[in-house]
């Protein structure tokens, strides 16, 4: 039996949660909402994160458009995702929600714009 103490990052409350793992049996305590249990289970099995960054915009009113992974990606893939984000350039205009990278670093997750950038 393995016990892990985590801080839930699901929301700013930051609840301290305890995960007890006994084979396939995973028990979560300390969470104040179902998100906490989901987070804790994921965190011990295959942790994931949302990655946010920015991508350079050609001919934009501002130099960068902020972006995020549309869904969470495996934690181990963060730097590969970042490499692809950093090597990407897009042309203005960009609109919020627009897909800028279809399948980022083989995660199957899209990178989408989180703001509008007009043409300069």
């Amino acid at each position: 039996m393995e016990v892990r103490n985590l801080i839930c990052i699901g929301c700013p409350l930051g609840c301290p949660v305890t995960v007890t793992m006994d084979g396939d049996d995973i028990n979560v305590t300390g969470n104040t909402c179902p998100r906490g249990a989901d987070y804790a289970r994921k965190e011990v099995l295959s942790p994931t994160r949302i990655v946010t960054s920015s991508i350079r915009v050609n001919n934009g009113a501002i130099a960068r458009v902020s972006v995020k992974t549309k869904n969470d990606i495996p934690k181990s893939k963060i730097f590969e995702v970042m490499d692809e984000i950093r090597s990407t350039r897009v042309d203005a205009p960009v609109s919020m929600g627009q897909v800028l990278i279809a399948d980022c670093a083989g995660t199957g997750v899209e990178i989408i714009a989180t703001k509008d950038v007009e043409r300069a």
Binding site: S54, R56, R64, R86
Partner: protein
């Protein structure tokens, strides 16, 4: 001109070098000023008490005393001619003990002998009536109504700009590494650049003046950097005192001053510690604590929580404790050991040395000397009507970039475009006070960098805080 590039080469773009340049530019001479940094006012002149001393401190008959009293006398008219900020707020030297009264009296008498006008010894009650925050311990004070406060950047930059307008060439990022006597003058070797040759050399190199002096003279001098730490407080604290408040050296040792700055902050300091490093402009925890402790002896309830920055300056203290001004070798003029009251004395030193050199050179005065200079408009200080009119004419005066000090884009643009325009963030700051306020450039740095880059064509990656090596960013993200 016997094949030499210049009649006069001035080493050092501090307040002394700038004053000498400005006064020499009255004459028909080809002059250059070489400065190691990217701008004028980058050494001792930028980090000091910003005080125009009345002139009672230095020994009667000394060069210091003469230059101080004369410089003080000149400052009012000069500030009007050259449009820099100066105010005679008056100064007080506080006496904390009956035992120290003789010393206060001696100071008064020395002041009178030095020619300081309107000096008066006043009682503790009179002091507190004048300055309600003075501590109860004070028993008397020497009051000097002619004491003043000045913007040291404004003074130095005004002198330099006016010199430039009158034909003086300024060479920045030009570090003199050696001086050798050549036929009819001197050759200044310059790091990574072509040498400069001139008939006459003025050594106004601040803490390095001994190095240059000793290259040409057998009578060696030694300048010890005397470090002083200061704290600057928010403008909300700026009215805590109105006069410059000194402490009479006495039972607490050498004191520190508490003074308003010309721009309405409160300045406390300096400490005094002799160091070896001529670049040692660092503050130390010990000295900053000393500034706080000593200032509290003079003035009650200083709101130390409102410190917005601390800094350190190096006074160019010469072992003889005297200004060394004059011809050190044939055609080589010193303005060395210019420690306090150097800022106060600069205009007088400029006139004195310029006259000496012009006589030696047999130079005539110009007929087309431009005696005045107009500063950058300070839009926030203008009347509503003036400001509205100006914004109509130049809309960029209506875009506030530095919100703490109310500095508009137009003023920043002016600071870059005008004579001897700024080429670094510190250069802009010293000209228009962008980033001088309570947020210490937190909000306006990115915008100011963009404006500097746009106006000068310097790529963002090469925008510096001051000298090369002080780049602000390391590249694109």
């Amino acid at each position: 001109m016997s094949g030499l590039q210049y009649d006069v080469a001035i080493i050092g773009g501090g307040v002394t070098g700038a004053a000498v340049a400005r006064e020499l530019s009255r004459y028909q001479l080809k002059i250059c000023l070489v400065e190691r940094a990217e701008d004028v006012c980058s050494g001792t002149s930028k980090a000091n008490s910003a005080i125009v001393h009345a002139g009672y401190d230095a020994a009667t008959g000394s060069v210091k005393a003469k230059m101080n009293v004369e410089g003080n006398r000149m400052m009012g008219e000069l500030s009007r001619d050259l449009d820099f900020a100066f105010r005679r707020n008056g100064s007080l030297v506080l006496c904390f003990s009956e035992d120290d009264r003789p010393a206060l009296k001696a100071l008064y008498e020395r002041g009178v002998a030095n020619g300081v006008p309107d000096l008066k010894i006043i009682s503790g009650e009179e002091v507190r009536a004048m300055e309600p925050n003075i501590t109860d311990e004070v028993v008397a004070a020497l009051y000097a109504p002619t004491g003043g406060i000045v913007c040291p950047f404004g003074l130095t930059i005004a002198l330099a700009e006016n010199a430039c307008d009158n034909g003086v060439e300024f060479k920045f990022l030009t570090e003199v590494t050696n001086i050798s006597k050549i036929d009819g003058g001197y050759e200044l070797a310059v790091r990574d650049k072509e040498p400069v040759t001139a008939r006459f050399v003025v050594n106004a190199a601040g803490v390095y003046a001994d190095v240059f002096h000793n290259m040409v003279s057998e009578e060696k001098i030694q300048i010890v950097p005397r470090k002083g730490d200061y704290c600057l407080l928010d403008q909300e604290a700026g009215k805590h005192v109105d006069k410059t408040v000194f402490q009479l050296p006495g039972k607490y040792g050498k004191g520190v001053l508490v003074a308003p700055t010309i721009h309405g902050n409160l300045l406390i300091g300096p400490t005094a510690s002799d160091i070896e490093d001529k670049e040692g402009t660092y503050t130390t925890a010990k000295e900053l604590a000393e500034v706080t402790a000593k200032s509290a002896i003079s003035v009650k309830n200083i709101p130390y929580r409102q410190v917005i920055t601390s800094f350190s300056g190096l006074r160019a203290h010469e072992k003889s404790d005297e200004f060394i001004i004059g011809e050190a070798a044939e055609g080589f003029y010193d303005a060395a050991g210019i420690e306090s009251p150097g800022l106060s004395s600069a205009p007088a030193i400029g006139v004195y040395l310029a006259k000496l050199i012009a006589e030696k050179a047999g130079a005539e005065k110009k007929t087309d000397f431009i005696a005045t200079r107009k500063g950058i408009p300070h839009v926030a200080a203008m009347s509503r009507e003036e400001r509205a009119a100006l914004i109509k004419e130049r809309p960029d005066y209506g875009t506030i970039v530095c919100r703490c000090e109310n500095v508009s884009e137009g003023e920043i643009v002016d600071s870059i475009r005008r004579t001897l325009g700024a080429r670094s963030l510190d250069g802009i700051k010293r000209r228009v006070r962008q980033g001088m306020g309570r947020c210490q450039a937190g909000f306006c740095t990115p915008r100011t960098m963009e404006i500097l880059s746009r106006e000068t064509g310097i790529p963002m990656e090469e925008i510096c805080k001051n000298q090369p090596g002080s780049e602000m960013i390391t590249g694109e993200a």
